[in-house]
């Protein structure tokens, strides 16, 4: 008998006519690792809630069908009874933690389950050691990082020894390293304890290959159920937003065989002859500098820095062709020293827009220090410059000082030492509101942005704050919502929207007329799936094409590569690397997108998926027999 059995299940939330789960059938055996994928609102979270009995007991609603977990009828059992069988980890750690210290939190579930004190003490210790939380035993929970908080939740759930571990996008609020660490822990728990895992996750590149089964859901139904390789092949035909970047670029290039990981991809390419050298008009021979596959020594960079192309492959090809396929040196033919620390490539010609008439340098910081009252030196002599019309990605781990820097830049924090200028003046809390027509700021937490009861009112508020009101403002708002396909959300409360919708509404708001000269965004892709990320990236691409300047703080290398032509890495309170994105990201092991790691060994600095697709399509003649004429099909 399967551990989880769902038969012909239909569920509607209270007041909803549309079924969140529609005639669902599913069996999960003990020890399986099941990955749930699908677009926002497809029913993944509802399915996970169902396993724990939270649907329908906690959320209410109408339900029909049968669900059993470990032989227990979920619909006839209280979630409290299901807690021992199903452990649940949700998206936001902040909304799950109950106690003030880590060890208390771990004990919470076991105390509820009525376990004897010696057992609670033993398992608490076990979880503290097993999940690497010992040093945080008595730490005050609000002071922990996001990753540590989510690990605490996981420890609290695992301490109850559940048969099924259900995780609902547990890494969506985490930086990449914390996310990697958490997913590795989940994998270890699965392998070492045999716990059945049902995971819903949008960082597919981190977990797709772990899964023993991948389910694809849409409109409350499971459309595909199979192994990860078959799922990748199926999804590449159906909707390739829900497969990892590596199989996606292979699929888009028309390959039949889809590797799931960078290593698999490199191994696949290693066996093939390549004409990358001819492609760039360079030479071949020698060994790959990164120890990559193929005996190629050519280290070529893609020239130019245009905004990535969108739309069809042909359009993308033409836009990439504009970038210039001709072989260039790694630094575009110049050494870094010749370009200066802040050496900027010549600005692209821009037809119109605020940057064309604005100051050349929108922001600079020289010798910037910031010391918190406790003595912590968050910024240590930082130098930074942002020129009009540029797209800059600011990278760095949590605690590197990125947020402090942004706050100093906007005038929300007063620097301890050094000089800062924004739009030709010293930034300050008092001056910031006066810059609203020139500066758009998207905070990391979109909740902080929204203060109105509906999306439309929120946009009208922006117009009012920019000195526009009446019919003109209403017209601009309606046009903006229509242009950004948000009209259907006009009457919705921004707080009730999905993460992707919230980000789009925030962008729609800051990009209302008059278009700001500078857009500052703090982790805009946190919690977004590939489709929503692409939508945000496209909006920003259009903004940049109109002459706007973007400074984006992000952990997302794919997003940084797609958006910015320059990148800076922060560390130890300063800028440790700054330059063209191709140079900074292309020369990194961890601060680089997956496609760069896939093709980096061939001597080309590929940063964007569009570029990788073109290479895979045209530069590997030996792969023709593994390639179809269009999108590939399951073997």
């Amino acid at each position: 008998m399967a551990l989880v059995e769902i038969e012909d299940l239909t569920f509607r939330y209270p007041g909803e006519e549309k079924a969140a789960l529609d005639g669902l059938n599913l069996k999960v055996d003990k020890g399986e690792f099941v990955l749930l994928t699908g677009p926002t609102g497809c029913g993944k979270t509802t399915l996970l809630r169902l396993l724990g009995g939270l649907v329908p007991h906690f959320h209410g609603g109408r339900i029909r069908g049968r669900v059993t977990v470990a032989g227990r009828d979920v619909l006839g059992s209280d979630p409290r009874e299901m807690a021992a069988a199903v452990g649940m980890v949700f998206q936001d750690a902040e909304g799950q933690l109950v106690s003030t210290t880590v060890e208390r939190e771990i004990a919470f579930g076991m105390e509820n389950a009525g376990l004897p004190a010696p057992v609670i003490n033993k398992r608490t210790e076990e979880m503290l050691v097993g999940l690497g939380l010992s040093r945080l035993r008595r730490s005050f929970i609000p002071g922990l990082s996001g990753g540590e908080k989510q690990k605490t939740v996981l420890a609290s759930v695992m301490a109850m020894h559940p048969l099924v571990l259900a995780l609902d996008e547990p890494t969506s609020q985490l930086d990449p390293l914390s996310a990697e660490e958490l997913l590795t822990l989940v994998r270890r728990l699965h392998e070492e304890t045999g716990t059945t895992v049902v995971l819903c996750e949008h960082r597919l590149e981190r977990c797709y290959h772990y899964a023993s089964r991948v389910l694809y859901m849409e409109r409350g139904r499971i459309l595909f159920d199979g192994g990860p390789r078959e799922a990748a092949a199926w999804c590449s035909r159906h909707d390739d937003a829900f497969i990892p970047p590596v199989p996606r670029v292979f699929a888009r290039a028309g390959w039949k065989e889809l590797p799931l990981t960078v290593n698999e991809g490199r191994a696949l390419l290693a066996g093939l002859p390549t004409r990358i050298g001819d492609f760039f008009g360079g030479t071949q021979g020698g060994s790959a500098p990164h120890g990559g596959p193929g005996g190629i020594s050519v280290r070529k960079a893609w020239g130019g820095d245009a905004v990535p192309g969108r739309g069809s492959l042909d359009q993308r090809e033409s836009s990439t062709a504009r970038l210039g396929w001709a072989a260039l040196g790694r630094n575009g033919g110049k050494k870094r020293s010749e370009r200066g620390v802040f050496g900027e490539e010549p600005s692209r010609a821009r037809g119109r827009g605020p940057a064309a008439t604005g100051p050349e340098e929108l922001f600079f910081a020289r010798g910037l220090w910031f010391v918190y009252p406790g003595g912590q030196e968050a910024l240590r002599g930082l130098d930074f410059r942002l020129r009009a019309g540029s797209g800059m990605a600011l990278l760095g781990e949590n605690g590197a000082g990125k947020s402090t820097f942004l706050r100093c830049m906007l005038g929300l924090l007063e620097p301890s030492r050094g000089k800062v200028e924004l739009f030709g003046g010293e930034p300050s809390r008092e001056r910031l509101p006066t810059l609203a027509t020139r500066l758009g700021y998207c905070p990391q937490n979109p909740r902080a942005y929204f203060v109105c009861p509906t999306v439309r009112e929120e946009l009208l508020r922006t117009m009012r704050l920019r000195g526009r009101a009446g019919k003109e403002a209403e017209k601009a708002v309606d046009e903006q919502m229509e242009r950004m396909e948000l009209s259907h959300l006009a009457r919705r409360n921004p707080h009730d929207l999905s993460a992707g919708e919230r980000e789009k509404v925030m962008l729609a708001s800051v990009l209302l007329p008059p278009l700001p000269e500078l857009l500052v965004m703090d982790e805009p892709t946190r919690g977004l799936d590939h489709r929503n990320k692409s939508a945000v990236s496209q909006m920003l691409g259009e903004y940049r094409a109109s002459g706007g300047t973007v400074l984006v703080v992000t952990h997302d290398m794919e997003f940084a590569a797609s958006l910015a032509e320059r990148a800076a890495i922060m560390g130890n309170g300063g800028i440790v690397a700054e330059g063209p994105a191709r140079e900074v990201l292309g020369d990194s092991l961890f601060f680089s997108p997956q496609v760069n790691r896939l093709l980096g060994g061939f001597g080309v600095e590929v940063l964007r998926e569009e570029e990788a697709i073109l290479l895979l399509r045209d530069a590997f003649p030996g792969g023709e027999e593994r390639r179809g004429t269009g999108p590939c099909f399951p073997p």
Partner: protein, 305 residues
């Protein structure tokens, strides 16, 4: 900003919650019960020294400053509403229905003493909030009422998150062009109202998430058990002895008459003092402060208690 507990390497932070509670309660009781300015001064200095030993002075600075302002206000207002006392410092006008507005030395000193006692009670509260682990304390209290203690623990945990969210919200609105200031208090209140509503909505959403998570972890099941709370160590016995010493001093002084006569003329504070009680109070506080200091410095002593 309200004081928030932080784990620190001090003896006060390392006390059993019951011992810590007894210590704080004895200091607060001494401040509330003993009216003699001599005692008030000793207890006030003792409370501040305890805060310093608990490395909590900096964290509690804001609330102590507010308490000092409140204390001074009491000292300032009392002579205006109370003209008892024989030593008139300022002869004021006669106000209809109010009477003479004379300011006397007795009323002024009474106000100062009352303000200092208020300040000391707040300092004791600060020590409680900053150096006593709320989790341990609530776990202790949960034996009486688990749900109330859980609600209190949640409030303690979520308060810092709400503060962070409020700051993020203010910053985002400033960047949107809303100055959130100027134009008088009413306009400022109007400007902040949408932020408060949004913050409230966020808090409600978070409460719903926490309820769901608690439900998923079996909250509300019958037969809830508790893990063992802290260990009672020699340091806790020392703290209990100190608390008992302070309490005994309060009882001894109370038995002697307890109060202190500010009116009609100030009594001699020393004459109205039970010297053994004052000695016990001073000895208890000083010895505990010494224990705190030596615990931090001497490994041998630290390992013994």
């Amino acid at each position: 900003m309200l004081p928030v507990y932080r784990e620190k390497d001090t003896l006060v932070h390392g006390l059993h919650p019951l011992a810590a509670l007894a210590l704080v309660a004895s200091v607060a009781a001494a401040a509330l019960v003993l009216e003699n300015p001599l005692y008030t001064a000793v207890v006030c200095v003792g409370a501040l020294a305890l805060l310093a030993r608990a490395e909590a002075l900096a964290d509690g600075k804001a609330i102590l400053r507010a308490a000092a302002v409140m204390g001074l206000l009491v000292a300032f207002i009392n002579p205006l509403v109370n003209n008892a006392g024989e030593h008139v410092l300022v002869y004021g006008p006669s106000i209809p229905l109010w009477g003479k507005l004379d300011i006397t030395a007795e009323a002024l000193l009474y106000g100062l003493a009352a303000g200092a006692r208020l300040f000391t009670v707040v300092a004791a509260f600060c020590l409680f909030a900053l150096a006593v682990n709320p989790d341990d304390l609530l776990e202790l209290m949960s034996r009486l009422s688990f749900r109330s203690s859980l609600a209190a623990a949640l409030a303690v945990r979520l308060y810092p998150s709400m503060v962070v969210e409020a700051v993020e919200m203010r910053d985002a609105q400033l960047a949107r062009g809303d100055p959130l200031s100027g134009g008088g208090r009413l306009n400022r209140a109007k400007a902040y109202l949408p932020l408060l509503l949004s913050l409230f909505q966020g808090a409600l959403d978070r409460a719903a998430s926490i309820a769901e998570s608690m439900s998923a972890r079996g909250f509300g099941s019958r037969g809830r058990t508790r893990r063992k709370v802290g260990i009672f160590r020699p340091r806790d016995i020392l703290a209990a002895l100190v608390s008992s010493g302070i309490a005994a001093a309060v009882v001894l002084q109370s038995l002697r008459g307890g109060g202190y006569d500010f009116f009609p003329v100030l009594a001699d504070p020393l004459a109205e003092t039970d010297l053994p009680a004052l000695g016990l109070l001073c000895f208890s506080l000083v010895s505990f402060l010494f224990v705190c200091g030596s615990w931090k410095k001497w490994h041998w002593w630290r390992s013994r208690i």
